[in-house]
Amino acid sequence: MSKTLIAAGALMVCVSQPALAQQKSVKIGFVSTFSGPTAVIGNDMRNSFDLALDHLGRKMGGLPVEVIYEDDQQKPEVGKQKTEKLIESDHVDFIVGYIWSNVLLASLKPALDSKTIMISANAGPSQIAGELCSSYFFSTSWQNDQTPAAVGLYMNQEGVKNAYLVGPNYAAGKDMLTGVKATFWGKIVGEEYTRWPDQLDFSAELSKVRAAKPDAVFVFYPGAAGVQFLNQYVQAGLKSQIPLYTAFTIDETTLPRQGENAIGIPGAQEWVNDLPNDANKKFVADYKAKYKASPSFYGAQSYDAANLVNSAVVAVNGDVAKKADMIKAMEKADFASVRGSFRYGNNHFPIQNFYLQDVVKGPDGMLGLKTVATIVKDDQDGFHDKCAMK
């Protein structure tokens, strides 16, 4: 049995190797989470990326596009392995995806060492915006601190005097709470970090929140944890007592399970499904038609990532060996982004608007997210001056 397995293994290794770099297609590696409860996010990203390729006619700069999707299982070390595999075995020209800051941080080194252009379609840890920045790295999302900082500004506008902050104990969680604290003027009466990703019961934290009697609570819980936190917040009777402000806690992937609990809870986002630009209208309408569901901001950022790649490949007429030229093209952010136009800062993070969003019940009785106001215009992250690139 073992003999055949080993033989099969050896055979597989051989078969899986395509002939060496004959450039007849653009190869893109896509790392995201496709297993476990947060696979919902990964699937939304994959769907949106695929939709973008449909819109591009499955060609970039005249070359066919090949995408290889890999599952990081939401684990840094797995994500790193998959990144290495895409680079060493599949020889991808671009590597895209990454929901989680810790997975992205672990995967950064192999990508940069091999000079593969990397595009984060979600995670934006402060280190990569600052001291770890690289010309090979681009973001189509935001730096982690920016969105909560926008929420902090909104809390100021609402006259919140003091707040309690709760978030998960990992790279993005720490960035998010730092982000709120950077802009929120009021007093922080308490701060809780919870075990990530396996703590799902927040009873102890909610009791402390209640006892602290703050004016407001700010939370960051992406994916499934956002469903659990919000449901428990409502069950504890806190929703009617203390206003809740969120970042990345309510979106189209979680809303079906949060239901009416989410109504009236504000959040900030750089993209909302009703932004009035043509690219966005086409994206949202076609997504709904193709997948019978609403796209989330994760999807929107992935859609943009595909278009960013396209802008680079088109600029070099399909000669993807010209990396420096492609990077130059990408720095112009010269494509129709679904968030409206934006530009890149020196650290390759977007300088962009952030909007206030809210959950409302549509005329058809369905819950959806809606833009309420623009919180901040042309916002740049606070780490770009730590980046050595000019």
């Binding site: 409860p37 701060e191 102890a204 009791s207 006892a211 659990q228 428990q232 409502v234 069950q235 009777g237």
Partner: protein, 309 residues
């Protein structure tokens, strides 16, 4: 001062609720462990199935209670089926085989659930009468549903106690836990007893899972982390002892919750807030393992060792 006392009371209730939930899981685990001498890592899979069944049946029947009852029956049946098809072959093997075989079952069930229900997980909405909070003391509110969990779990604990201590079946179970041959000598159909006990254990895990579903939503892999905590509970309590499991579960629930709630404050007194908020969550997660290690170092057979083991 009053605020602090109220917070402490609330956190104790949180701990009690978590502990009782652990007891539901640990009771089935320790029964199976004690009677069949089987380390069942797949116990957490029944917890997960309980949650998924409840969410599905509640949606179908549009009744929370009916959904819960159907889910209990379903996990009981699935438990017995698993015993008949797979687990039965592991009796009498060493613990290493149990760990490995039931680890295989975990993988199987996780993927099965993903195939059947998809990766997103399922919500189990609470009926309106449970989704509020009630005044437990003047001006002190606590989620009704968590009170309901405490009541249900205590009732189950009492029922188990009566069954194990006062009935003929219970006598068999106790006898089985301390003396396998004796049960055989009494001419009892051991195979049937084992299948039933395994089914009951699965149903208890399913109960724990369906109880958690409205709070945590039903999720793939939800059983694994809590399974380890449940194992800690039965080890601290002494394998095979329902009483030990009960006391250890409440103890673990309280230690975990109180640690999580108050350790950060304690740390902030002696170090910078940044260091405290980094260290405290890690240390509070560690507490129950520390507790188990201390108990085992002092009492290598747990707090309430069952004779003959």
């Amino acid at each position: 001062m009053r605020d602090e006392v109220i917070l402490l009371i609330e956190q104790c209730l949180n701990g009690l609720q978590f502990g009782l939930l652990l007891f539901l899981l640990a009771a089935g685990l320790t029964l199976v462990f004690g009677i069949m001498d089987l380390v069942n890592l797949a116990h957490g899979s029944f917890y997960m199935l309980g949650a998924y069944f409840a969410a599905t049946f509640a949606a179908l029947t549009e009744s929370f209670v009916l959904g819960a009852v159907l889910a209990l029956v379903a996990t009981f049946v699935v438990g017995m089926a698993v015993e008949l098809i797979a687990v039965r072959k592991l009796y009498g093997r060493d613990h290493l085989d149990h760990v490995l075989g039931t680890f295989g079952l975990i993988l199987f069930f996780n993927e099965l659930v993903r195939l059947v229900w998809g990766p997103a997980g399922m919500n189990l909405p609470l009926p309106p009468f449970l989704s509020t909070s009630i005044e437990i003391l003047p001006d002190v509110y606590y989620p009704t549903y968590r009170i309901a969990i405490i009541v249900v779990a205590l009732a189950v604990a009492l029922l188990l106690y009566i069954v194990v201590m006062r009935t003929r079946v219970g006598m068999l179970i106790r006898a089985g836990a301390s003396n396998r041959e004796m049960v055989g000598a009494l001419g009892i159909n051991i195979r049937l007893l084992y299948t039933l006990v395994f089914g009951v254990g699965a149903a208890l895990a399913g109960l724990a899972g369906l109880i958690q579903a409205p709070i945590l939503t039903a999720q793939i892999g939800m059983g694994e982390n809590i399974l380890i905590v449940a194992l800690v509970v039965i080890i601290i309590g002494g394998i095979g002892s329902i009483r030990g499991a009960f006391i250890a579960a409440i103890f673990v629930g309280l230690v975990d919750t109180i640690g999580r709630a108050f350790l950060p404050e304690v740390f902030r007194m002696v170090m910078t807030p940044a260091a405290a908020s980094a260290l405290a969550p890690a240390l509070s997660s560690m507490l129950i393992y520390l507790l188990m290690a201390v108990v085992l170092v002092l009492r290598p057979q747990g707090l309430f060792p069952v004779d003959g083991k």
